[in-house]
């Protein structure tokens, strides 16, 4: 069966520090991969999505970036965190090649910026 792993579960970082969140998927190949951010009590904002290695689509201009160095690995990064980057970051995957597939989410990372 397929599984998705995200780490760390929680993170507290000072303003201006760098960020690296990692997500890996097991049990499937060539997945679509997504990064979402959820502010407290709010909906899901799509940040990035990828349909293959090295193929990243950015949804919202910001100081975050994403990379997909391997087929089942998706990384969210920042060189300098802002207070507004606080939130719940969720990675998700779906079957590649068709739009009518559910998204499967990881447990998420709660990021607090001080």
């Amino acid at each position: 069966s397929q599984t998705i792993h995200q780490w760390p579960a929680t993170l507290v970082q000072p303003v201006g520090s760098p960020l690296s969140l990692e997500c890996t998927v097991e049990g499937t190949s060539n997945p679509n991969l997504y990064w979402y951010r959820q502010a407290a009590g709010r909906g899901l904002q799509l940040l990035f999505y990828s349909v293959g290695i090295g193929q990243i689509s950015s949804e919202v201009p910001q100081n975050l970036s994403a990379s997909r160095p391997q087929d089942r690995q998706f990384i969210l990064s920042s060189k300098k965190l802002l207070l507004s980057d606080s939130g719940f970051y969720l990675c998700a995957w779906s079957v590649r090649g068709t739009v009518n597939q559910p998204q499967h989410f990881g447990d998420g990372t709660r990021l607090s910026i001080l």
Partner: protein
């Protein structure tokens, strides 16, 4: 741009009462998905509707896709405390693999 809205934003019900959340899209959707997010958890896929006017049931949950494929609803009969959470609908952005999530309805069930 394409938008997906949900109402109500919040709903408090007594255990045993029914609950309904409504989802409205600014554009016609090829399909619609529903997710549930428990407090402190991540969204979990519930169901997908594809056909115009489609109705699907999962135990006490009834999902409906509108005839024009621009709206959908989720109805829970006789709510239980285990139904607590936020319910999101999501529709695909035309021509992409991306889904636009609705604003969500947070359900609180009072025992």
């Amino acid at each position: 741009g394409q938008q997906v809205m949900q109402i109500p934003q919040y709903q408090h019900v007594q255990e045993g009462e029914d609950f309904t959340t409504y989802c409205n899209s600014s554009t016609t959707l090829s399909n619609i998905q529903w997710y549930k997010q428990r407090p402190g958890g991540h969204p979990v896929f519930l169901i997908q509707l594809v056909k115009s006017g489609e109705v699907k049931k999962q135990k006490r949950l009834t999902f409906q896709f509108g005839e024009a494929k621009k709206n959908s609803s989720l109805h829970i009969t006789a709510t239980q405390t285990t139904d607590v959470g936020t319910y999101f609908c999501a529709g695909p952005r035309v021509g992409t693999y991306k889904y636009i999530f609705g604003t969500g309805t947070r359900l609180k069930v009072l025992a």
